[in-house]
């Protein structure tokens, strides 16, 4: 009897809260924002401060709810007509502007349920965890976002130090960074999945028995977490990493990274690239990624991107990526690093956002939401009353500490970038045809100049030590081929030379996209055989127009198919810019296993910088 009463009370209170929420929120929603006809009332004022949590006469609640729903329906129909003066900076009440890790785009159905239950809509802007942390630490998030939802706040807290950027944080789900290995490799190595250590993985790689993919630790949390686990294991560190541990692990790390075959700026794209390689010879044996991504991939439930990245791509997901059913998920016994996805309210958020945050987090931690989260995304629930979904191992696991000081964390990244990783070979195929007017050419030069860095460039912001960079400006044909390798000692001189080449770019002539791309592949083939080395190799294509001369799309397709297996694994990353043809560029990206970056919606420097994660 008592139970029934309580449930009724809870039900009533839920209806009332919904009503209050909708009433407080919708009138000032997107449709009405900025309209002179409306008084600028604070949303908080519309929520009765002495609002009852229950004990509302049912008739009133119901009336209010009906009224709210009717009004909501009315309001949304007016949304379309009034977006002209929306500066996109202010928070619409009832929305929470969230800077979120890109892999969380798989939560969209749970977030829709959350919106239905709480009236709070998340307005996401996707980012990498480390980039997101830098955005918050630099203060650029203040006033632009209300909350940040990254894979982990560990790096963010190191960056912010004593300054308090986060008001409160609530972990929502968790997922350790693990290793997914194809069945053939597990058998070949004779591994018992429950007994594998990172040292075993290192040995398999250095013996040439295991190839793998991992994201760029400078941009992606899963890669950084793996780097921490590997450094801990290979240095024999007994506690949180120190500089001495990083130094001790370096030789082994360098060996380990020599066996890396795939890299990426995001964990989702890495899994897609891995799946793509599954059908090719030689396939890649293993993948370092979140347990959740590995399980999704294993079950054919990983959603692909819509073939585009860039500042404003809303990562509308398309159909699932082809599953890799024979993937075994291994959590090395010497320890893993786990992402706990804390939804974190910024100190700059206003009272309305705080309220939205509170009801949203309460919902997301509820058993109902936690069940949906683990079932749909294969992450682990944080509400201990909800068991993890089938397929997630329950044995205790050792968690490795994240470095406790920013010096160590940054030094680890810097060593990776400039000393430890497999070096890269990058060709920039740059449209300098007549349509590149002064303004466009100026933007191109500025973006490239940025990559040549300065003395104090942060890790990942400039061409890496040991990187081979070729600039290949083209119009009717390739105009020049300028190659420089950035040496480990005194990189400044080579960077100066690249900068001089950039400054010398001149526009004029037609646009021969395909002929120039073919030239780039030929150049890479020659470089590789001449140097006899093994590098991450990729092509960036920047064009502001359509192909007007030289080889046609069909010619390029045939050319590409005639390349050797090694050459075919070189992806082209086209950048959409000016009047370039999206379909044409998307086709090039799809064909070569690259990815399209949008510099029409987003910025050109942003696109160039984001591509670094894939090179």
């Amino acid at each position: 009897m008592r139970r029934t009463t309580r449930r009724l009370a809870a039900h009533r209170s839920a209806i009332h809260r919904l009503a209050a929420r909708l009433l407080a929120v919708r009138p000032f929603g997107p449709g009405a924002r900025g309209r002179a006809a409306l008084p600028a009332t604070e949303p908080a004022a519309a929520t009765p401060r002495t609002g009852p949590r229950r004990r509302t006469p049912r008739s009133l609640s119901t009336t209010a709810a009906v009224l709210a729903l009717a009004l909501t329906a009315g309001c949304s129909s007016s949304d379309g007509g009034s977006d002209d003066d929306d500066n996109g900076k202010r928070r619409a009440p009832g929305t929470l502007r969230v800077l979120a890790s890109s892999e969380l785009s798989d939560l969209s159905s749970v977030l829709k349920d959350a919106e239905r239950a709480t009236g709070v809509k998340i307005e996401p802007t996707w980012t990498g965890t480390l980039d997101g942390a830098q955005t918050v630490a630099s203060g650029r998030a203040d006033g632009t976002y209300d909350a940040v939802w990254l894979a982990s706040n560990d790096y963010l807290r190191l960056l912010t130090g004593e300054q308090k950027k986060i008001r409160t944080e609530t972990p929502i789900v968790s997922s350790p960074v693990a290793l997914g290995v194809r069945e053939g490799a597990v058998k070949r190595l004779g591994w018992e999945p429950g007994r594998v250590t990172w040292s075993d993985v290192h040995k398999a790689v250095t013996d040439g028995k295991l190839t793998y993919g991992m994201t760029d630790p400078v941009r992606s949390n899963s890669g950084y977490s793996a780097l921490i686990a590997l450094t801990s294991a290979l240095s024999g560190a007994q506690s949180a990493l120190t500089d001495a541990d990083v130094r001790a692990a370096s030789p082994k790390l360098r060996e380990f990274f020599a066996g890396q075959k795939l890299t990426s700026g995001s964990s989702g794209w890495l899994a897609e690239a891995f799946a793509r390689r599954a059908g090719q010879r030689p396939p890649v044996d293993a993948l370092i990624n979140y347990e959740s991504v590995l399980l999704s991939l294993q079950r054919g439930k990983l959603l692909g991107h819509d073939g585009e990245r860039g500042a404003d791509s809303d990562t509308a997901t398309t159909e699932p990526v082809a599953g890799i059913g024979d993937l075994t998920v291994i959590r090395p016994t010497d320890g893993v690093v786990t992402a706990d996805y804390p939804l974190s309210l910024l100190t700059s958020a206003d009272q309305g956002a705080r309220d939205s945050y509170a009801s949203l987090t309460r919902y997301l931690r509820s058993p109902e939401a936690q069940r949906a989260l683990t079932r749909e995304t294969f992450r682990r629930p944080v509400n201990s009353s909800v068991p993890p979904t089938d397929g997630i191992a329950r044995e205790p696991r050792r968690e490795l500490p994240f470095p406790g000081s920013r010096d160590v964390a940054d030094r680890l990244l810097d060593s990776y970038e400039n000393e430890l990783r497999r070096p890269s070979r990058t060709v920039y195929v740059l449209d300098t045809s007549g349509s590149m007017d002064e303004e466009r050419l100026g933007r191109l030069k500025a973006a490239l100049r940025k990559l040549t860095g300065s003395d104090d460039s942060a890790t990942g912001k400039r061409f890496r030590d040991r990187e081979e960079v070729t600039l290949m400006p083209f119009s009717d044909q390739v105009k020049e081929v300028n190659t420089h390798t950035v040496p480990e000692r005194e990189p400044a001189r080579a960077l100066d030379l690249i900068r001089a080449d950039v400054d010398g770019l001149v526009a004029g002539g037609d646009t021969a996209i395909y002929s120039s791309l073919q030239e780039a592949y030929r150049h890479l083939g020659e470089r590789a055989s001449k140097a006899g080395d093994d590098r991450f190799t990729s092509i960036v294509l920047m064009t502001d127009g359509e192909n007007t001369t030289g080889a046609k799309a069909g010619d390029f397709d045939a050319f590409y198919r005639g390349l050797s297996g090694d050459q075919r694994s070189v992806p082209v990353f086209p950048i959409l810019f000016g009047d370039s043809d999206r379909t044409e560029l998307e086709h090039i990206a799809d064909l070569t296993g690259g990815q399209l970056f949008d510099a029409v919606e987003g910025s050109l420097d942003g696109a160039f910088e984001e591509i670094r994660g894939y090179q």
């Binding site: 009370a9 009503a19 009852p52 229950r54 807290r157 409160t168 949180a240 968690e399 406790g404 010096d407």
Partner: protein, 364 residues
């Protein structure tokens, strides 16, 4: 056309809001419900979100909205609109009381000693090496006493689990011997752990001046540095322990594990270690408004709410019988009486505490 429709609808909406606000206000005044907002330590979030607690509060005319924060972080928070702050102990509460010029005494409805949670392999290894005295039948030990002085001495010398005899059987027992705590700069329990360590290292004397702080800094720095990045919320750390993630020894409030046991859950191979010297964490409510004070007084005095606090594992002040009754079934893990078995370390002043914690984190 769309625009006109939009404006018409907008006016209709404003009308709706005004109606609802007026109706809502009438209603709440009629029932006399007051909503209080507060910032709380995460270890009390379950308690203050429990539907039964909310029901009991509503019966007494209160609704409560809370957000979690590290106890020491509350000092720097914008508390405009908050009726109370509810950190985990007296020192951050004193600092808050001074910062916000709170009149009258803070309220201490309940307390909880700090304990160390372990799985049986870790507890048995510590016992075999003389750091722990276990209680309970062999193989089913659920509780024990952690001897802080020798344990901290071993931790201070970078002793590893591998060096302890008997650890070889357990693959998960690796790395430097240490207790995982929250970030002492942000959170209460992490700070109290260092305060306990400082007291023990100072020969069971309270550290009260700069000289004393300097003397214990090598140890506190070590205890902090081995952990790397630390959690801000004790609840997150506790949750990781319950699902088998993390490190062998985790600092927790007794209330956290007691609440779990009282609601009928278990943790496989659980052993609750009571340090022979520990700190009782006085959960202290700092009222920022009159309503906040009334709310705090209610928590302190109301028998139903005290009973609910016990169900969440807290020990109400002057209510040892209530706690004993609620935990009678869980004697394997929990100690009903603390006197005689556990020595309570006094807590330094807020200033000395800040000095201890910030120096534990300083690089040099």
């Amino acid at each position: 056309m769309k625009r006109i429709l939009g404006i018409v609808l907008a006016f209709a909406l404003i009308g709706g809001v005004i109606t609802a606000v007026v109706l809502g206000r009438d209603d709440s005044e009629a029932s006399g419900t007051t909503t209080v907002r507060g910032v709380i330590g995460s270890e009390k979030a379950d308690f203050l979100n429990d539907p039964e607690v909310l029901d009991a509060l509503a019966d007494r005319g209160f609704a409560v909205e809370t957000e979690s924060s590290g106890s020491w972080d509350m000092k720097d928070m914008d508390l405009k609109g908050a009726d109370f702050a509810f950190p985990g102990s007296a020192a951050p509460a004193d600092a808050l009381g001074r910062a916000h010029r709170v009149q009258g005494s803070p309220l201490r409805p309940f307390y909880s000693p700090l304990v160390v949670l372990a799985r049986r392999p870790a507890a048995k290894t510590l016992a075999a090496n003389g750091y722990v005295k276990l209680t309970g039948p062999a193989g089913r030990e659920g509780s024990g006493t952690l001897r802080m002085d020798p344990f901290l001495k071993a931790a201070g010398k970078d002793t590893t689990w591998q060096e302890l005899k008997g650890s070889g059987e357990y693959a998960e027992l690796k790395g430097t011997l240490s207790i995982t705590s929250t970030d002492p700069l942000a959170s209460n329990s992490g700070a109290l752990y260092l305060a306990t360590a400082a007291y023990v290292a100072n020969g069971n004397r309270l550290v009260s001046d700069a000289e004393g702080v300097a003397a214990v800094t090598p140890l506190t720095r070590k205890l902090t540095a081995v952990q790397g990045r630390q959690n801000v919320n004790s609840e997150d750390l506790f949750r990781d322990f319950t699902v088998g993630v993390g490190t062998p020894l985790v600092l927790a409030y007794e209330s956290q594990i007691a609440a779990l046991l009282i609601r009928g859950d278990t943790v496989p191979d659980l052993v609750v270690l009571y340090p022979d010297t520990t700190v009782f964490s006085d959960h202290t409510l700092v009222p920022l408004t009159e309503q906040g004070r009334k709310f705090g007084e209610l928590l302190q005095r109301d028998p139903t709410l005290r009973g609910l606090a016990v169900r969440h594992g807290f020990r109400p002040v002057g209510g040892s019988a209530e706690f004993a009754a609620a935990t009678a079934k869980h004697g394997t893990y929990l100690r009903q009486k603390l006197t005689g078995t556990v020595q309570q370390a006094p807590v330094p002043t807020a200033e000395v505490m800040r000095e201890i914690t910030s120096r534990s984190r300083a690089q040099k």
